[in-house]
Subunit: 398 residues, 2 copies
């Protein structure tokens, strides 16, 4: 029996595809520091956990397709604190950010249409594009310039008759880059001039460091018809397993189409939405502590990388990832070698080869993404093992 | 700004699109008996509810893309009780049955491919087909013959070079029909002869009445490469809001492709899977009580419908739906009228017009689907109001 062409060709997750090597290593008794996946070890706020414990309904019932009213109201308040004024009808709750992106692609693009996206980009955008039958057109950015957006001409050169949107992740996964307001403004001008949507994935909104301010696509005036924001509680409240996201847009026609797609899958998980609603009670101090914790971790990872000769990486200002260009030829081989052959006192480190974050063939082959989601002690140990491993690997015939 | 063609044309849910009329009626103080949606009032078993209350992890973390191992093991045991022997790799957990069907479509079909499906069919198949870019080819079945599958020639006549699968819902939503083993066997013979997959949606497996036996697609020998089963805990344990389903298939190549789609969206909700795992502790008596409760309700609805002149409907043997052909011309208008203009002591009834369950234009226009998901008292009241309403409506100029 044949399977479909898209099933044959969909990209395997570069974040998860090395898992079998990790499983093998664990069977051999090796402890692995996971810097490969964006699963924070920060505790989920107790207000959210308590909401699960305190669910008193007798039936776990369907909710509305657009999400529970109480949760949408709490999101409205959260956005207001972030200087984003929304009506309730501008918010549809989704099954995590993943579904929000799939919906955004389905309503803006027909099969074969194109979305421009700065690369390296969150690798799962590829999977969503396969599901929606959309072609992602990469706009290459570079480690040497901190993955800043290129000048307008580089962007407009990619626009074709099939282009329907520009999609960006801000703060960036995997880059950690926070786009300055003037760059967001440039993107919106290009979008308006060319009748494009801007799909802005802002799930790392809260995590910006060094006094940098995050600019949301919803902060830009005159973008009511063009701006689509993707959001999620996964990273914000360290609740990745709750699978609660949102798609936010002021374009009424677009949102009524999103609602029809949402109705097909009935609703996002009910109790998880109730838990997400409780996030409104999470005090501001949670963010202050979490941000200071992530900043400390970023500094550890960056400082350790900076000690290694010939590593290219600029200190990221947001999210909890860092991309590093290594003085080797094939980062995936290095990652496998670290799992199969290298250890320090029975411990090793796992990270994500960055090639899968690029759409342009050949790019990113010598780059890796590190997620700084472990506590300070573990992270320091992991970075020592990483440095040792890289030194040893370089000394081998590659 | 334009939206995509698929966003313009995706069907609005016929189950949910009358909700605004219901909301208006509620604002006027009218109580509505909801027979329009498959949300049972049966209590979710306490073992499942307790699992939410007893979640003790400090972080709501991602699970594996294929689902939590503990939950897949519990599903394996559940299927074994149902005479279905599976390896763990034959089971991938999904975000409800909805996602399982979308995955099944994505891996079997390219854009523009066709799936044959007996109509009337679960209306959301249309939405999933729009998402996957698949064309559903209806195989018409009739109220007069209890929506039985037509003879082989009628089925094979629909097969084209683009046909990749036959999809069925057994026990059927919206028909309540339970296909006898010989009919399932016929379908599998046709599938094998024509290199087609059979996608079998069996979420109502447990709910069969009058001593009828349910035949799963997984019970048929020699279908290892062809059979794809879709499942969900939504109806089985009255846990629609948990959004936990599964796709089950012994075809390794197909399942490794499903896993890649699953990796793109990371994982199904974590705590809901833990709750679903607890379903293994639900005693058999829960099913006995639930089945006897649904049977009683079916009899109430069927007996009340049988009292009305010129209503066509055959007593269904499974699920908790009944389709009735009414002596009126437009069931949607009647449904709206019931919400807008009719009431008995400030109460009225909502049901789903059946036209949206058909793909062939014009069919089902005078049919409705009733979900018998209310307790006996409410259901008796609802059916009295329904009969009164229909009598009054028929007496009006239509």
């Amino acid at each position: 029996m044949n399977i479909s062409h898209r099933a044959e060709t969909i990209q395997a997750s570069p974040i998860r595809k090395l898992m079998p090597y990790a499983d093998e290593a664990k069977k051999r008794g090796i402890k692995i520091y996971h810097l490969n996946i964006g699963q924070p070890d920060i505790e989920t706020p107790k207000q959210i956990l308590n909401a699960y414990h305190n669910f008193t309904d007798k039936v776990v019932a369907y909710g509305p397709s657009q999400g529970l009213l109480t949760y949408r109201e709490s999101l409205q308040k959260y956005y207001k604190k972030n200087k984003i004024d929304l009506s309730l009808s501008d918010i549809i709750v989704t099954t995590a950010g993943s579904e929000a992106i799939i919906f955004a692609m389905l309503v803006t693009c027909n099969v074969g249409d194109e979305i421009i996206v700065p690369e390296p980009f969150y690798t799962n955008y590829n999977g969503f594009a396969t599901i929606a039958g959309v072609n992602l057109i990469p706009l290459t950015t570079y480690a040497e310039t901190g993955f800043a957006l290129p000048e307008d001409e580089k962007i407009t050169a990619l626009i074709s008759a099939k282009t329907k949107a520009i999609m960006m992740c801000n703060p960036g996964n995997p880059t950690g880059t926070v786009y300055p307001r003037k760059d967001i403004q440039r993107i919106t001008e290009i979008a308006k001039k060319n009748n494009l949507y801007v799909i802005s994935d802002e799930v790392y909104r809260e995590f910006v460091y060094d006094g940098v301010t995050h600019t949301s696509i919803m902060h830009i005036e005159g973008m009511e018809d063009h701006a689509i924001m993707v959001d999620s509680i996964s990273k914000r409240y360290s609740a990745c397993g709750s699978r609660i996201g949102a798609i936010v847009c002021k374009n009424k026609k677009l949102m009524s189409a999103v609602l029809k797609f949402a109705q097909a899958r009935l609703c996002p998980p009910t109790i998880d939405q109730i838990a997400a609603t409780a996030s409104l009670e999470v005090p501001q101090s949670y963010f202050e502590e979490t941000i200071s914790e992530y900043k400390k971790r970023r500094d550890i990872v960056f400082d350790e990388l900076a000690k290694i000769d010939d590593v290219v990486c600029i200190k990221p200002e947001g999210a909890f990832y860092i991309i590093a260009k290594l003085p080797i030829t094939d980062a995936e081989k290095f990652a496998v070698w670290m799992l199969e052959e290298f250890q320090v006192n029975n411990e090793t480190v796992m990270f994500a080869p960055a090639e899968g974050f690029y759409a342009t063939p050949g790019l990113g082959k010598n780059e890796i993404r590190l997620a700084y989601i472990l506590n300070e002690n573990d992270l320091r140990k992991a970075m020592l093992i990483f440095r040792e491993g890289l030194k040893k690997y370089k000394s081998l015939k590659q």
